[in-house]
């Protein structure tokens, strides 16, 4: 059947299965498997210090990965996606992701940092200057992954809004879907404010003009005058234009309004296909939405998220997964495809899915540092041999690594 999505799939610039793609790693605690913290090489007592994160990022940088994402939330982790739990056998507690990134970035040279921020309840004015500052301290390698807070207990940490309680039962009924739509509409406004604030200073606003005594040219600093349903923000930012102009905005999507957010507002979308055909469909769907949103001239990367259990042999990987599942008491499930095998086998899958339209992948290591090292020492060399991945950082900004030009400032009158 001919659909807008299928036409878009055909018409949009599809990556050649032989062209290089991008790799990111999703860092979260001791790894994505709930029992990861119990592995011999895990460092669970060090999760709340800088050294642990510095070591992980240094490893990722050795593999010349495009960027790391860092998970975060405004509540305790939970096995229940819709509410808290009281487990004591899981990693519980985490540091603020933007601050982890800022702490680590100055000692790195090429890798990008995309911390997660919650956009429900928080102030876009604060987040805008945080990410702009991350861009300064990393000399142009910052981005942000925007995430809604659908759990009801998050609202209670702020005490400002009474929000309907979403659950696995209600999320798909009309009230749940309507609330989800509201959260994503707020997220869309939030990203608009971030972007306007990043542009609120023109690049050459600081003039240091001794003759007239002016530090800035005030005509090059702009009010953003954003007015919306959840917030109004006057601007300008207190922080000058970031080195990249616009740090990267990323979002994880599972269809519907989350794809609209990616297509309408983001630079990078993370999607969760389970095979190449689904990958192609998702790319097509987002592409169509991107076109409908008037962004067809822009690049919106669509990366596939995968959880990876990597070992030298397939059996070793299977054994390790089973062992971890036994330790945690249940079979590990994910929204993303769970890959269990060797780095070479993973390279085959990534190559296939790349040919289906994904421009990159965000890999979720089952355990840290094991699966991260398998990526940098196993997967990356294999991909390089196939000419599918860079040999070293070829650009000094994250936008540069992702092939995104430095954008013009929307407030500059041409």
């Amino acid at each position: 059947m001919v659909t807008v999505a299928s036409i878009t799939k055909a018409v949009l610039l599809m990556p050649d299965s032989l062209s290089p793609f991008h790799l990111a790693v999703a860092l979260d605690g001791a790894g994505w498997h709930p029992a990861a913290w119990r592995e011999t090489d895990a460092r669970p007592a060090e999760l709340f210090g800088a050294g642990y994160w510095a070591d992980l990022v240094a490893e990722a940088e050795r593999g010349s990965l495009d960027f790391v994402t860092i998970e975060d939330s405004l509540t305790m982790q939970s096995d229940d996606p819709f509410g808290p739990d009281d487990r004591i056998d899981r990693v519980r507690g985490r540091l603020d992701a933007v601050l982890i990134a800022a702490r680590i970035a100055p000692r790195t040279r090429g890798i990008g940092f995309v911390p997660t921020v919650t956009v429900t309840h928080t102030e876009p004015f604060h987040v805008s200057k945080s990410i702009a500052t991350l861009d300064y301290v990393s000399t142009g390698r910052a981005g942000v992954r925007v995430q809604i807070a659908a759990r009801h207990d998050v609202a209670a940490h702020f005490g400002r809004r009474a929000l309907p309680r979403l659950s696995v039962e209600t999320i798909n009924d009309p009230v749940g879907q309507q609330q989800l739509g509201e959260y994503f509409a707020e997220a869309t406004d939030y990203v608009e404010v971030l972007r306007r604030l990043w542009d609120s200073w023109e690049d050459d606003a600081e003039i240091r003009d001794v003759a007239t005594g002016r530090f800035i040219d005030r005509h090059k600093v702009h009010y953003i005058d954003f007015e919306g349903r959840w917030f109004s923000v006057k601007g300008p930012s207190i922080t000058p234009r970031p080195p990249q102009g616009q740090p990267i905005v990323a979002a994880l999507g599972h269809g519907g309004v989350s794809y609209e957010l990616i297509a309408g507002s983001a630079d990078v979308g993370f999607v969760t296909p389970h095979d190449a055909a689904q990958a192609a469909d998702m790319v097509g769907e987002i592409g169509a939405l991107q076109w409908a949103a008037g962004r067809s001239r822009e690049t919106v990367h669509v990366f596939g998220d995968l959880v990876v259990f990597l070992d030298r042999t397939p059996r070793a990987a299977q054994t390790r997964r089973r062992r971890l599942d036994e330790l945690s008491g249940a079979e590990y499930r994910s929204d993303a495809h769970i890959f269990v095998g060797t780095p070479a086998q993973l390279a085959d899958v990534l190559q296939q899915w790349h040919a289906a339209g994904l421009s990159g992948f965000r890999l979720r290591p089952a355990t840290l540092p094991h699966d991260l090292v398998q990526i940098t020492e196993g997967l990356v060399p294999d991909l390089r041999r196939r000419a599918l991945f860079r040999t070293d950082y070829e650009a000094d900004t994250l936008r540069g690594l992702l092939g995104l030009a430095r954008p013009a400032n929307r407030y500059v009158v041409a």
Partner: protein, 464 residues
């Protein structure tokens, strides 16, 4: 037995958005590039300073309806740049100004606990209150807080944050791989707080940090502000510039501590001060005069006068006498986003004082502004500066100083290179750091671990 010699505490303020910074000097560096902050911090650490200090403002200042452009404009986000500075320093304390009005306790507590973890126990929080609708235009709730409520909100904000910090005892992360127990307490981080300002409950998701909580700074000068500091702060900024005023403030604030069951050395008094170092006192005085003229240009002088007069005086001659018209009393509509205008409680009286002084000393508008808007400043040879600082501290006019150079980032170097060694030789300033945390640098005892985490069955926190 004679009183033991007091040890001096020193800090460095990376200045920005006011006229202290002479940005026109060729040696003046960036106020936004990270390299500038890193250089400044590393200089302070080389000088064994207790901490680095950052102010904050959440909206660009305006005057006469336009963005103020005569001073440095633009600064990084406080938390983010301090976390980055933790990467390029090892011992230096990291003090950030964070507002209690346009923030929420859960987030701020997370960020400070995280900064404390990521710096190995060097975080500090200067609690400030802004309340104005002008700044509020950048935030969800706008100008929601009445001016007279700002101290109450600050107190309860700080109290709530303390409860969040204390919701972890510090021994809950056991991470026992063999038994599979990560947390020894399923209720770790549980909290409840309900009062007029905050009605929140749940679980705080950052385990107890090395210092337990950030060191608390406060800058209030009013009676309410002094009490707030005496009850809740570890250090207080003062703006009392003369020896006598400093001693009076010191005695007053330290005298309030007993009421809260605290000892005199549990609260440090740290005024801000600028400095000019010359080969001789005379040379320093000359340089100081030039710096003051650079800081107070004719245009800047007019701006200062407008801030007090609350009138548009753009046609006023800065080389002539002060305006004869009286200031306009009431809400300041000329200057927006500037905390200092709140100091002008009786503008007409101050204007009269200024006029009297100008007449007596035959000062033009600009010369008068140079005189009355100067900050406490140590001006002299390295020996004179070291002597004066030590005299102040030993005479209980302060416990140390927060130094603000007028050139950033390099302006701190002369102090670190020439004055610090003299203080070290005298035995009144550390030759090296002994401890690793900011509390240790400041001589503050470690906080006791909370007796038990506050759970839902604990009594609700109510601001006193």
């Amino acid at each position: 037995m004679s009183k033991p010699v007091k040890q001096i505490h020193l800090a460095a303020h990376f200045p920005g958005v006011n006229n202290t910074t002479v940005w026109s000097d060729p040696a003046a560096g960036s106020h936004i590039e990270f390299s500038s902050f890193a250089q400044f911090a590393q200089t302070a650490e080389r000088g064994k300073f207790d901490f680095l200090f950052l102010a904050e403002g959440l909206r660009l200042r305006e005057q006469n309806g336009q963005i103020y452009d005569l001073d440095v404009v633009g600064r990084p986000d406080t938390f983010t740049v301090l976390a980055a500075l933790a990467a390029v320093t090892e011992r230096l304390g990291l003090t950030g100004t964070i507002n209690s009005t346009f923030n929420e306790p859960y987030e701020v507590a997370r960020q400070f606990a995280s900064l404390d973890h990521l710096s190995g126990g060097r975080a500090a929080w200067n609690v400030v209150t802004s309340w104005d609708a002008f700044t509020g235009e950048n935030f969800r709730r706008g100008g929601f807080l009445a001016e007279d409520q700002r101290y109450e909100r600050a107190k309860t904000f700080l109290q709530t944050a303390q409860e969040l910090f204390d919701s972890w005892r510090g021994d809950e992360v056991v991470a026992n791989k063999a038994t599979g127990v990560f947390l020894s307490d399923a209720k770790a981080g549980a909290f409840v707080h309900k009062d007029a300002h905050f009605d929140i409950h749940g679980r705080f998701n950052v385990p107890r940090s090395p210092q337990g909580r950030p060191v608390i700074f406060q800058a209030g000068d009013s009676d309410q502000g002094r009490d707030f500091a005496a009850s809740a702060a570890d250090a207080i900024f003062s703006r009392h510039s003369t020896l006598e005023a400093g001693q009076a403030f010191y005695a007053d604030v330290k005298g309030r501590l007993a009421r809260y069951g605290r000892l005199r050395d549990e609260l440090l008094i740290l005024p801000a001060a600028t400095f000019i170092i010359g080969d001789t006192d005379a040379e320093a005085a000359e340089i100081a005069h030039e710096v003051r003229l650079a800081q107070v240009s004719p245009q800047t002088a007019i701006k200062f006068v407008e801030q007090l007069w609350n009138r548009d005086l753009s046609d006023h001659n800065p080389d002539g006498p002060l305006p004869t018209v009286d200031p306009l009393v009431g809400e300041n509509t000329i200057s927006r986003g500037r905390a200092s205008v709140r100091m002008y409680r009786d503008p007409i009286a101050i204007a009269n004082d200024w006029r009297a002084k100008a007449e007596t000393e035959n000062l033009s508008t600009r010369e008068l502004i140079v005189e009355v808007t100067g900050r406490q400043s140590f001006i002299g040879s390295p020996q004179t500066v070291a002597q004066t600082i030590n005299d102040f501290v030993q005479a209980d006019a302060s416990d140390g100083f927060i130094l603000v150079p007028h050139i950033t980032p390099g302006g701190l170097d002369p102090f670190v290179d020439q004055v610090v060694p003299l203080l070290q030789e005298r035995g009144v300033f550390r030759a090296d750091y002994r401890g690793t945390t900011l509390r240790e640098h400041l001589g503050l005892a470690p906080l006791p671990a909370p007796r038990r985490s506050a759970g839902p069955d604990a009594s609700t926190g109510v601001a006193s």
